[in-house]
Every structure is written in C-alpha cells, then in structure tokens.
C-alpha cells in the first residue's frame, strides 16, 4: 500500500458534494441489467429440487424419468460434482470450508434442512423443468431433526454431523456435537469487576432468524463449452468470489471461468457466497447449452442465508455513580446446517463501545436443521448490541443518569484498550454521542403513549484486497475500472476521488466495473470496504497516471520532470519557466501518441489502516395500549463516516440500516412448523417495513477523518444496523415501562408484556 496522505484540512472540490449518480438514469429507467435480465441464444432453464424434510438420509435418487422427458437437457445430483475434502480457505471474507459449501450447494449423503437442494434440472422451458423436478424420485430415510440452539445442545439431540467435534474446549471432546466451536474474548477480570459493582443487571435475550431481504432474488446465466471454459453472468457481491468458489467446487482452474458482474438488487451480506452458480455451470456442461437459473422468493427464504437466531445471557454491573465495572456474556448463535455463525464477530463487538474494567464474552457456534446462515450487515453485532445496549439503558436508569451521559462516562476512545484486545486508534465514539445529545430530537417533547430510546453501535469495517486501473482517453476524459459490484454508490465515490486527484470535473470520469478477465483481483463488496479500500487503489492508480502526465509535460517542454507539478487539471512548470502555459489533461492526452503512447495507471493493494465506525441512534415510538402495536414516530441516526465522499449515499446507508434494524426489532422472524418447514416464506407473511411504516429517518454525519485513508474514509454500510434494535426496545420501555427481551416486538408480545405489568 503506497497511498500517500492528503492534507485532511484541505478544501475539496468534489469530495463532500452530491453529483448525480452515474448509474442512476439506467436504474430509474429500467435499463440496468440485473442477474435475471441476461439471455443468450439457445439458453435453457434450470431449476432445483429441494428437500421436503428438515433432516433425512438420501437413500437413492432416480432421475431416469426426468431425463427421459421431452425438453429436458440435463439432470444433476451431487454425484455430478467432485467430492470436496474438508478444507478451510481464506478465499472471500472469512474462512470457508469448501466441503460444507459444496454440501450446502447440493446435498450429498444427507439433506440437512427443509429446502436443501438435492438435484437440479435444465430444460427448454421453466415449466418443463418444473415438471421434470416432480419426476425425480428421491428415497429419504427421515431422521429426527433439531431446530433450536437450546435443543441442539441437549445430550440426546440429533447430531447433524458425525465428524463435528467442538473446537475451543479442553479436553478435546471425544463425541460429536452440534456445538461447532467455543470462543471467548475479553480483558481484565469480569467476575472481580461484577463483584465491585453496586448495580448488577442479569438478562437473557432471544432473537429469531431474519433475512437480508434483498429485493432481487439470486439469478445466474452460465455457459460451459466443450473446451472446458465457462462464462457466468451473475448478480453478487463479488464476481471474483464466484470465480474462486465455482472453480473449487467444480474442480476447475480459475482461468477457465470468467464471471461478468450484473447489477445487484441488494445483498447486505447475503450475496457473499454461491448457491446457483456451480449448479448452472454443471448443468450447462451436461446440456451443452447456456443455462439460466432464477430463484423464487420462496427459495430465497428457504435456502439462502438468513442471519442467526440467537440466545444471549448477559450480566453487567456498574457503581452507583455510573462506572461500568464488569460484564459477562454467553452468546449462542445458530449457524444453520453447517458451522459458521458470526458469533466470533459478536464476542468482539459486544462491549466495544465501552471501557469496562473487566469483561468476558463466550461465544458458541451451533448447528441446527435450518438453512445455513450468511452474512448480514455487521454480522452478529446487532443481536449482541440488543443485549448490551438495553442493559446499559437499564443501568443508567438505576443510577439516575441520562442514557447518553452514561454512555459518555463509559465510552471507549482513542487509546482505550478495547474489549477485543488492541487499543483504539482515532475513533468517533465520543463525537457521535455528543452529536446525538446536542440534536434537537433528543430534547423534543413526547406525546401520550410515546417513549424515547437511544443506543450505540460499533463495527470494525474491512480492508482486504483491491485493484483498479485508470485510463486516459485522447480527449482527456478518464475511465476508472474496478472489480467491485456497486451496491451502495461506489461508482460515484470512486469517480469523485479520481476527479479530486486530477482536478477535473467529475462528469469527465467514467467509473466502470469490469469482469474477472479485465481488471486485477478484488475481494468482494462487503465489510463496508469498497470506498475505503478500492478507493485507495483508485487514488494510487490516479497518482500513477499523474506521474506519467508530468513526465509527458516535461518531455513536451524539454524540462526536468521535477520542475513540473500537477494541479487543477493541468501540468504546470514550477520554476517560473517563462512562456510555458499549463498543459491540461486534454492537451497532454492529444499528444499521447507522439510522446510515448496511451496513458494508463493501475494499482493493486491490500488496504491497511481501516477506520472503525461508531453510531448512535435516537428513536421515538408510540405504543397503542389497546393492541400493543408499536409505531416509530421519529428516528435520528448519528454516525461517524470519517469523511463522507458523497453524503447522499452515506445518508442512504444510514437510513437503510436503520430501516432494516427497525424491521428486525418489530416485525421480522422466520417461523417454522414442527417439521422444520418455514411457514412464512414470502413478503406478505414475512413483514419487512415499507416506506409507509416509517417516519423520515433523519441523519447526522459526524466526520472524524480516518488518518490513514487519503480522504479520511471509514466504511459506512454496516454500523447503521447495529443500534436500531436496542434503540427501539429502549423506546418501547420508555413508553410502556416494560423491557422485552425477545424479538420481534410484535403487537401480541408487547401487549402480553404490558398486560403482565398491569396485572
């Protein structure tokens, strides 16, 4: 990483402005191509047969009748994919076990959840493919299933994986378990800290699985030719991730697969893995024709990653004057059918906003017969914040201290030894709390049956690998090419940073997202990392180009390159060389053919110096005393963005995170029947908030620049989903006097709690 710093006090021309988004017109006019929009000549349709059982041994699969049907071109089962050994790899965001991933894409010996893929078909039409699925005969030996983390830990619980032994405990277990791992994090002596507390609160919290709820279902078109080369068009959070995962799962070289990114209709972490893509390639190879696969919304709910259901037991204590002294938490996170819940991140984020004398968090990763969970915005953190931030609220109340003042008294700040180990560098925890406290919302009067809650949130943000190229056209315009799907406005932010570097109008910069064969490797779009990390790569590539532009100007003028500087879109002689008029980007580009050829720059880097993010949310609710229905009537989000490159996009992230968190708090939950079948796999019954459910969500961007980013950027996409659950729950407590420790706060649950209090 070679990015030099920019003067953080400098006045910028483009950074912090709100130009029209480069992808906006295509999206509002319906021209943008999403995953399901792509079509190829000769293309056929793929569909997936899914398990009707939550846990069953697959005794046999007879595909002969389906294969004999007219119009059916291919049928595949797990036998058509290579058997993958258990192997963890760091491809993507975190460790991935490819055997588990392969078995999740298509079941091998056992179906581990209702909706688990067991076979796939490609046929001339979608209707024929559906008929062919019904002709496949699968003999199952139905096994006992387990749906809840509590039950999965019982001594007589059905075991999902005979080779799963709990990691992180001593002595090493000799019997398989549904508890995949135990991890702990903390500092100081938690019990000693609790012992010296004047007030200790003990609570147990439960949350249900919730879905990321992206509007665009998973979709892919794939071809696999006779030469063994595949091309994939897919909507995802990382086309390099798709290439790497498909190569691994199909036994191919990455050089044999080209992945072309489609526009993405939301991901929120849920599109950081593969489901359909390997199946589409395998079907195409068998059929000899391009194959298109599009999930229904029901399939999205049943078979793609929700966020974990959780149970958290928490004890926190403070002195009577409000100093947090000790905390202990036990976090149980359901991973779904394969290990890998975000409990590791949860134990690290849980106490991060606070400077506590002694704290300990124990995390347990538990497999159950439900769909494998996937990342969802700040994975693991919202549920952990629900527990800590409501108990902090209760402790503040016991001490008679204003809840924001209580947080300020205990806030972690630069130099604080974090609960997860290292000392914090420059962070904006204090600044966001102070901004929230000063906001008019915090002191506004409340109406009848209304209450106000606040909560803090923390997320690490990510760095990882990014590449970019910058090309100069002979008319002096710029093309910025990167390898990250644009989910939250990265085209705009990358173009703006390039315009700032060159000192040209942002309209002269064309930001493009290239396929895996065109631009250097980039890790996926996740971890709130693209404007930060890919932005660094773009800045470095721009500086590479500017260096060349100075060299070209020096050669045109016949002076030393050290005597040429670049500013405001032009090369300028610095030594007072008389008569040397500045050479603009266009001037130099026009002469490129005669001064050395085309001008382009590139950069590939592993981004270091991630800026961690804090947020504070203020929520007002009104609770109907007759029905228990909760309406959010006012909501304000305050967040440290480091520096907002395009404030509208930052505000959009803040509002979107708040909306999703409010839905998580009030409405959303996976509901299963006794057989492990999800009963509400559609947006009619799985109730996400819509615009009419919410007030205008006010935003306050706090800017504590990240000193290691050239423009001070911190990631902004994830932390806004961390505070909403406790902010809503604390507001409901303020309105009703009841503290509810299980989500969602549906009207029956709130009414029951209110009735219990009244009685």
């Amino acid at each position: 990483m070679a990015t030099a710093e920019v003067d953080q006090q400098k006045k910028f021309k483009w950074i912090g402005t709100r130009p029209v988004r480069p992808d906006g017109l295509d999206k509002v006019r319906g021209r943008a191509n999403y995953g399901a929009d792509h079509a190829l000549p000769g293309m056929i349709w793929g569909k997936v047969l899914r398990s009707p059982h939550a846990h069953a041994r697959i005794v046999s699969i007879d595909t002969s009748k389906a294969e004999a049907m007219e119009g059916v071109h291919a049928v595949i089962t797990a036998a058509d994919l290579p058997e993958i050994l258990s192997e963890e790899s760091k491809i993507g965001e975190g460790p991935t076990n490819f055997r588990d991933l392969s078995h999740n894409v298509i079941a091998r010996e056992k179906a581990l959840y209702h909706g688990h893929a067991v076979a796939a078909v490609a046929a001339t039409t979608s209707a024929i493919a559906q008929q062919a699925l019904e002709a496949i005969q699968v003999e199952y030996e139905v096994l006992p299933h387990v749906l809840e983390g509590d039950d999965a830990q019982a001594p007589d619980a059905p075991i999902l994986h005979d080779d799963l032994f709990t990691k992180g405990v001593e002595p090493r277990p000799t019997r398989p378990s549904n508890v995949a791992s135990r991890t702990e994090m903390g500092r100081g002596d938690a019990e000693a800290g609790l012992a010296k507390a004047d007030h200790v609160i003990t609570r147990s919290f439960r949350t249900k699985a919730v879905h990321q709820g992206y509007i665009e279902p998973h979709a892919v078109v794939a071809t696999l030719g006779e030469d063994g080369r595949a091309t994939v068009w897919a909507s995802s959070q990382g086309h390099f991730m798709i290439r790497a995962y498909c190569a691994k799962l199909l036994g191919m070289d990455q050089s044999q697969i080209k992945v072309i990114p489609a526009e993405i209709g939301g991901g929120f972490g849920g599109k950081t893995t593969v489901y359909l893509e390997p199946l589409a390639i395998a079907l195409s190879g068998k059929a000899g024709r391009p194959v298109k696969m599009v999930m229904s919304r029901e399939e999205v709910f049943r078979a793609t990653g929700p966020a974990s259901a959780t149970r958290i037991e928490l004890r926190m204590g403070c002195t009577k004057d409000g100093k947090l002294t000790g905390a202990h938490a036990r976090l149980e996170y359901e991973a779904g059918a394969f290990p890998g819940s975000p409990v590791g991140a949860a134990v690290m984020t849980l106490f991060a906003p606070y400077d506590i004398d002694g704290c300990l968090a124990e995390g347990y990763d538990i497999v159950v017969n439900k769909c494998k969970v996937a990342a969802y915005r700040a994975p693991g953190a919202p549920m952990a914040a629900y527990a800590v931030e409501t108990v902090v609220d209760e402790l503040a109340e016991k001490c008679g201290i204003d809840p924001i003042e209580f947080r300020l008294q205990n806030a972690s700040r630069e130099g604080t030894q974090s609960a997860f180990g290292p000392k914090f560098k420059r962070i904006g925890n204090i600044e966001t709390l102070e901004a929230a406290k000063a906001h008019p919302h915090y002191s506004a009067p409340l109406g009848p049956n209304q209450g106000r809650g606040v909560a803090s949130g923390f997320w690490f943000n990510g760095g990882m690998q990014s590449s970019a190229t910058v090309q100069v056209a002979d008319d002096g315009t710029i093309c910025v090419v990167s390898g990250n799907p644009d989910i939250g406005g990265s085209r705009a932010s990358l173009a703006m940073m390039a315009a700032e570097e060159f000192g040209i109008d942002v309209k002269l910069v064309d930001p493009q997202i290239a396929d895996t064969s065109v631009v250097g490797f980039s890790d996926l779009t996740g971890g709130s990392r693209v404007t930060f990390a890919t932005g660094m790569a773009v800045v470095d590539a721009c500086r590479d180009v500017i260096r060349q532009l100075r060299e070209r100007a020096a050669s045109i003028w016949g002076i030393e390159v050290d005597a040429v500087k670049w500013s405001d879109g032009a090369a300028r002689a610095t030594n007072g060389d008389a008569g040397l008029e500045p050479l603009s980007l266009r001037d130099i580009a026009l002469k490129a053919a005669r001064t050395g050829g085309p001008i382009s720059g590139r950069a590939s880097l592993t981004a270091r110096g991630v800026g961690m993010a804090f947020a504070v949310h203020i929520c007002d609710v009104e609770v109907d005393p007759e029905t228990g229905k909760v309406d959010v009537v006012r909501y304000t989000t305050v967040q440290d963005a480091g520096r907002a490159i395009h404030p509208s996009y930052v505000e959009g992230q803040m509002q979107g995170g708040a909306a999703q968190g409010i839905g998580w708090a009030l409405n959303e939950e996976y509901i299963y029947d006794a057989d492990g079948k999800m009963e509400n796999p559609g947006f009619l019954d799985y109730r996400m908030p819509v615009a009419s459910d919410l007030p205008m969500i006010d935003t306050v961007i706090v800017e504590v620049p990240n000193p290691t980013h050239p423009y001070g950027v911190r990631g902004v996409g994830e932390v806004p989903i961390v505070p909403p659950i406790p902010a809503v729950v604390n507001a409901v407590h303020a309105a009703t006097g009841v503290r509810i420790t299980e989500l969602p706060l549906s009207p029956p649950r709130v009414l029951a709690a209110m009735d219990a209090r009244r009685n």
Binding site: E93, G94, T183, G269, A345, G421, V610, E718
Partner: protein, 84 residues
C-alpha cells in the same frame, strides 16, 4: 521489543496460566511468527487458518510482511466477516 498480548480463546496457545505479554524482537510478522512458534507452538498454523493480527491497533487480515516497530503492541484476533 514488541509486546505480544494474548486475549480470549487464544490464551490457550500459551499452554500455561502465565498469559502476560510476550516480548519479541522482530522486524515483521514473518519473523514474529517464526520466533513465537517456539513459545506458542501452533501459532503460525492458527494464523494461516484464519487469525488476524492487530499491530498497534490496525487489524491485518492476512499478514506476513507487515513491519513491526520496536514498541509495537501485537494482538491475535479471529478473522471478521463483514456483509454490507
């Protein structure tokens, strides 16, 4: 000398109750891991399998050549998965 501080589950690497800071003279992560392996057997494999390292508060997901200062503070952390 850089100070290596073990927290949470990683304290089991020390195989002793004394998990106090370990002082190591190393110029970069590669040298640090090589020298630590004698005192914390298995640490290099754990890092390879997915541990991150925080060097003076900066979390590095896949470290090898990152420089370490004479007074650096080193923490080992689980890798973090994001999702926005």
């Amino acid at each position: 000398m850089a100070r290596v501080i073990l927290t949470g589950s990683l304290r089991d690497l020390a195989q002793t109750k004394d998990t106090g800071p370990i002082e190591i003279d190393a110029a970069d992560v590669r040298e640090l891991l090589r020298k630590l392996e004698d005192r914390l057997p298995g640490i290099a494999k754990r890092v390879e399998d997915g541990l991150s390292i925080a060097i003076d508060g900066d979390i590095v997901a896949d470290p090898l050549l990152e420089p370490i200062g004479a007074d650096s503070e080193i923490h080992f952390l689980p890798s973090i998965q994001g999702g926005s």
